[in-house]
Point group: C2
Chain length 197, copies 2
C-alpha cells in the first residue's frame, strides 16, 4: 500500500487495541494527522507520562501515581473490601456510586491450565489486609466463569477463621433485557434468587 | 472519580478521537496499562515519529515521509488524476485495487459559509500539474454534498481550455443494499444512469 512507513506503524499500534480493527485504526491515524502537530505530541507525551507515573497501589493494586491510591487514602477505616480481578472492573462500581468501601485487585483468577495457581494471585496480601484493618465484609466480584467460582470458594475458605463475611453479587435478569432472550443459567439463578415484592 | 490524573488525561486523549466515547476511551487506557511499559512507550514514540516525519507530498498533498510520495514516484507518467477532498479518501480506491493512476488532494471543498473560497483549495497547483504532465482524465471524487458539486463544476470550468476530460464516479444502488431502503435521490440517479444488460 502507498502509506509512509511511520504512518503504517502508528496504524498498527491503534489496531492492537481491543475492539479496533485495521480500518478503524487507519481512520484514527488519519484523523490525528489532520490535527496540529502539538496535538499529536501531547498525545504521545501523555502516553509516556502514564507509562512512567502510573503503577499499582501498594495496598490494593488499583492504578495510582502516588504510593497509595486515592481510594485507599480517602476511604481509610471502611469495613468492606470489594475484590475484583483487574483494575478496570472497579469502573462500573464507581459509575453507579452505590459502593463507598475499599477495593482489592486480585490480579487474576485461578486457572490451572494457564499456570495460574494461588501463589500468582495477591491472596496473602488480601488475608493480611482483612486481618489488619478488621474488615467485616468481602464482596467477591469476580465474574461467573468456573475459574472465578473456584477462586471465590478458595477465598471463602481462606477467610473461614476470620470474623469477616464473604458475599457475592446477585445473579439475575439484567435491567431492560427481554425475558425471551435470557439464557438458561441466568434464568435459573434469577428464579432461585427471587424476592418478595 | 478515583483515577490518577495522568491516566485521566490519557483517557481524554483517546476520547477526542472520532467514534470513541468516554467509556471506550477508558477501556483502551486500562488495556494499555496491562501491557509492558515498553509497549506504551513504543506507542508514544510512533506518535511522535508520525508528527515529526509525516507531511503532505509536495506534488499531490497525500501523506508522505519523503519529499514526494510513493504514488507520485511509482506511477510517474500516468495520465489520470483522481481528485479527492482529504488524504483518507484515497483508501477505498487503493483497497479496491481498481485504480492505478495518480491522486490529488484538494484540501477541502468550496464552502462560502465556512469561509472556504477557491483560494483555500489547491486549485492552481492542480491546473499546473494537469498542464505539465499532460493529464488526460481528471476523476473528480468529491462526494455528493452541494459544496462538493459546486467544487466539481468549478474544476470542470477551470479545465475547459485544457485537453483533459473531467469525469465523476457513478451514482447508484450500492452493492448488497435492499431496494426498499434506497433513498429518493440515489434511486433517481440509479434510474437515470441505467445500463444495458
Amino acid at each position: 500500500m502507498l502509506e509512509p512507513f511511520s504512518l503504517e506503524q502508528l496504524v498498527q499500534e491503534f489496531a492492537s487495541l481491543p475492539g479496533i480493527g485495521k480500518k478503524t485504526a487507519r481512520r484514527l491515524a488519519y484523523h490525528l494527522l489532520q490535527k496540529p502537530k502539538q496535538d499529536i505530541e501531547r498525545f504521545a507525551d501523555r502516553l509516556k507520562e502514564v507509562s512512567i507515573k502510573v503503577r499499582p497501589c501498594s495496598k490494593c493494586y488499583l492504578y495510582t501515581d502516588t504510593e497509595i491510591c486515592s481510594v485507599c487514602c480517602e476511604r481509610v477505616g471502611a469495613k468492606s473490601i470489594c475484590v475484583v480481578e483487574k483494575p478496570s472492573d472497579v469502573l462500573p462500581f464507581e459509575r453507579s456510586g452505590i459502593y463507598q468501601g475499599l477495593y482489592f485487585v486480585l490480579g487474576g483468577v485461578l486457572s490451572p491450565l494457564d499456570g495460574v495457581g494461588p501463589e500468582k494471585l495477591h491472596l496473602t496480601k488480601l488475608v493480611k489486609r482483612v486481618q489488619e484493618e478488621n474488615i467485616e465484609e468481602l464482596i467477591l466480584a469476580l465474574g461467573s466463569s468456573p475459574e472465578a467460582e473456584s477462586t471465590m470458594l478458595l477465598i471463602d475458605r481462606l477467610m473461614s477463621d476470620l470474623p469477616v463475611k464473604c458475599t457475592r453479587l446477585a445473579r439475575g435478569i439484567p435491567m431492560g433485557s427481554d425475558l425471551e432472550f435470557v439464557d438458561e443459567i441466568t434464568m435459573l439463578k434469577a428464579f432461585e434468587g427471587r424476592n418478595m415484592l
